[in-house]
């Protein structure tokens, strides 16, 4: 087995992977299994699951109510990620919808899938052809058929339980069954389906990165209802599972290693990356193939920071598209008190979702949406509301129970289009703990998604009426969903795209940028499975190149 070689703090390996989240880990794991030497450079620290669980248990009521999923995660002073309680303003946001782009992500070994809901959706075939089919956005340079086998492999890598009944699949086009059948529904999911499905909303089981039997050294899901911010037992897929697998095979992970510089030669081939260790000493990693998978905010930030003489506007940026076309599933919530018990909070955080509004000819005109039944316990919200009524004693307990049992929260996702003015640039006034420029992001939701919001509200009011909803509320301020996409966009034309169909940078033959940043269309579904599929496709291409 080939291993990386160290020399005076510098390292050499066949493949250098920057970023140890799900995408970087999948690439590293496949390449080390194929016999290549692999180094992973991770800006943040290693984490202890038990410490994060204890931090969350000790979180204040206010932070729990505010869903402070970033707070429980320790950060290295040299690798800052956004915090919101209070805000650390690592990212400066501007634009009409700045507050809708307040992202959360984790800089630590294993990446952001430490705190996700493990929803593992595929794009629809038509999502790859938004321009051809609907006249909006861009077409991917690949079709669903080109990525389908990678979706299968990604589902296998993440251990995805999904509905094998085609009537409940979205999309139905698939060449292999799921690793395991769907995560079974609880009372809330089934009740909701009985009410809304006769009206065409198509509440279906969400394919999830967890199983109800032990699988691949992970325990069965035991419904701790704490997927975000952390699964206390490691049943839910986290990127750390793949990092651990890669390390066991001989991949070397260097934590608290912040890459800041990328060297290129006369052919614009990448020859090395440089990183700062925790003592701010600089080291060099040389290799034959380089992967940057730091998420769609940090990857373009690094490419811009690493601008050099040969690439003055940033690495891989001949198109001027690095940092542009930033997308997320800007979203909002709808809450109400239903006329029948729902009992949210039993089981995993998200098990069912309305995908009826996910596609249709209307997408030529306005954004699709999806509506998740947010299965997170209503106890904190119910308690806040009941206390505000000035109740005590038995009446307080009864009201908390009523609101927790009958309360509903829906999480709605919209699909913004790729807009080059939604972009990340480097701050000229703020630097991080290493003196590296912080990111600035300009974000405007756009008319397409804004009209989609209005249409979604009509649907939500109808859904509420089906439950004789009390205290019906739709949030007007949009929230981020941490599905950052588009900032090193994929395309066949190097003049208006950053990477090709294998996420290889157009400008550098041995530089690969897999993940959310390569995605061309957001669709309305969580991006992680598509990111993982792109990572595996990239890994295949790197194997051919090595």
């Amino acid at each position: 087995m080939k291993k990386p070689t160290f020399n005076n703090g510098d390292v050499e390996a066949d493949v250098i992977v920057v970023g140890s989240g799900v995408v970087g880990a999948l690439v590293a794991n496949q390449l080390v299994a194929a016999g290549h030497s692999v180094v992973m450079l991770e800006a943040g620290p290693r984490l202890k699951r038990s410490e994060v669980v204890q931090n969350w248990r000790n979180a204040s009521f206010e932070r729990r109510l505010g869903s402070d999923f970033q707070g429980p995660y320790p950060q290295s002073p040299h690798a800052t990620a956004p915090l919101y309680f209070p805000a650390n303003d690592y990212v400066a946001l501007t634009g009409p919808d700045a507050s809708s782009f307040r992202q959360g992500f984790i800089k630590a070994v294993g990446g952001t899938t430490w705190h996700w809901a493990a929803s593992c959706w595929r794009h629809l075939p038509v999502d790859f052809k938004m321009k051809s089919a609907y006249g909006v956005g861009r077409d991917w340079p690949i079709a669903y058929a080109d990525i389908e086998s990678y979706y299968c492999r990604a589902e296998e890598a993440l251990g995805v339980s999904g509905p094998n009944d085609p009537q409940r699949q979205s999309p139905r086009e698939r060449s292999r069954p799921y690793v395991a059948d769907m995560i079974p529904w609880g009372h809330g999911d089934s009740t909701f389906a009985e009410v809304v499905n006769p009206h065409g909303y198509n509440l279906v089981p969400i394919p999830q990165g967890r199983t109800i039997q032990p699988w691949n050294e992970r325990p069965a899901c035991c419904g701790n209802n704490n997927c975000q911010p952390i699964c206390p037992i490691g049943a839910m897929y986290n990127g750390i599972h793949t990092v651990d697998a890669a390390e066991k095979k001989g991949a070397v992970v260097l934590e608290e290693a912040v890459v800041y510089r990328i060297d290129t030669d006369a052919q614009n081939t990448v020859t090395a990356v440089h990183w700062y260790d925790r003592d701010r000493v600089s080291h060099k990693a040389t290799g034959r193939q380089f992967v940057i998978a730091c998420n769609a905010l940090e990857t373009p930030r690094l490419l811009l920071l690493a601008a050099n003489e040969q690439n003055p506007t940033g690495i891989a940026n001949g198109s001027d598209q690095v940092g542009r076309n930033m997308m997320d599933h800007s979203g909002f919530h709808c809450s109400f008190i239903a006329d029948r018990p729902i009992w949210l909070g039993r089981g995993p955080a998200q098990s069912s979702c309305m995908v009826g509004p996910r596609d249709g000819s209307f997408r030529a005109d306005y954004s699709a949406n999806k509506i998740i039944l947010n299965n997170i316990s209503r106890v904190p919200v119910a308690t806040q509301q009941a206390l505000a009524l000035g109740l005590v004693g038995d009446a307080l307990d009864a009201e908390i129970r009523r609101r927790a049992v009958y309360g509903v929260d829906l999480s709605i996702s919209l699909e913004p289009l790729p807009d080059p003015t939604n972009r990340l640039t480097l701050s000229t006034s703020r630097v991080d703990g290493l003196g590296l420029a912080c990111p600035d992001i300009h974000y405007s939701l756009g008319d397409y998604a804004r009209k989609g919001y209005d249409k979604a509200c009509e649907q939500l009011r109808h859904i509420g009426s089906l439950f004789n909803a009390e205290e019906f509320n739709i949030t007007t301020a949009l929230n981020a969903n941490n599905h950052i996409m588009g900032s090193t966009i994929m395309g066949s034309d190097p003049r208006d795209s950053v990477v090709d169909e294998n996420c290889r940078a157009h400008d550098h033959a041995n530089l690969w940028l897999p993940g959310g940043s390569a995605m061309v269309s957001a669709s309305v579904v969580n991006s992680t499975l598509t990111m993982a599929a792109l990572g595996l496709k990239t890994a295949d291409a790197i194997e051919r190149a090595l």
Binding site: E51, W56, A59, W343, S377, V392, A395, A398, R402, T428
Partner: protein, 162 residues
């Protein structure tokens, strides 16, 4: 260029050492402390209508309020005097002079938190009173005890049996 002051460890990493941690107190309390704790526990029972309150949580709430809620703490003597004269939590909070302090103590027991913002002290989570009203159907997050797929079973009736 200005350095922005956010390069710090998350403030929860030291949570285990705060008064709200899940550790039993090390030193034996003084006689005055013990009396004050007993009094606070009695007031809390009268305000919540519950007589199985955890004395350790009670001590943590009292200590955290001494720091973060001076107005409530200043009202404790009055609350203690009144505790023996009321028959229910509703009667207790109906007394205008102590209403705010009374509701603050109830909120601390139910939410498991005293104080706000970065000053907030977590005094309980699993044992916070907010968990009790639905304890027959929902586990506090991270404390599931039902095993794989427990949630498939039918939930209890919406109105709790008494």
């Amino acid at each position: 260029m200005a350095l922005f002051a956010a390069c710090r460890r998350s403030d929860t990493s030291a949570a285990g050492t705060q008064p709200g941690s899940n550790q039993k107190p090390d030193a034996a309390p003084s006689a005055a402390d013990a009396a004050a704790d007993a009094s606070f526990l009695a007031v809390s029972s009268a305000l919540t209508g519950k007589h199985d309150l955890d004395p350790y949580v009670s001590g943590r709430i009292r200590a955290a309020m001494a720091v973060h809620e001076p107005a409530t703490t200043a009202t404790l003597d009055a609350l203690q005097r009144l505790a023996g004269t009321v028959d229910s939590p509703e009667q207790f909070i109906a007394i205008p002079a102590v209403r705010d302090a009374a509701l603050a103590i109830v909120a601390a027991w139910y939410t498991g938190t005293v104080g706000k913002g970065t000053e907030a002290v977590t005094v309980a989570y699993r044992d916070a009173l907010m968990q009790r009203p639905v304890a027959d159907g929902i586990f506090p997050a991270t404390y599931a005890k039902g095993g794989p797929a427990w949630w498939v079973a039918a939930p209890p009736p919406a109105v709790a049996a008494r």
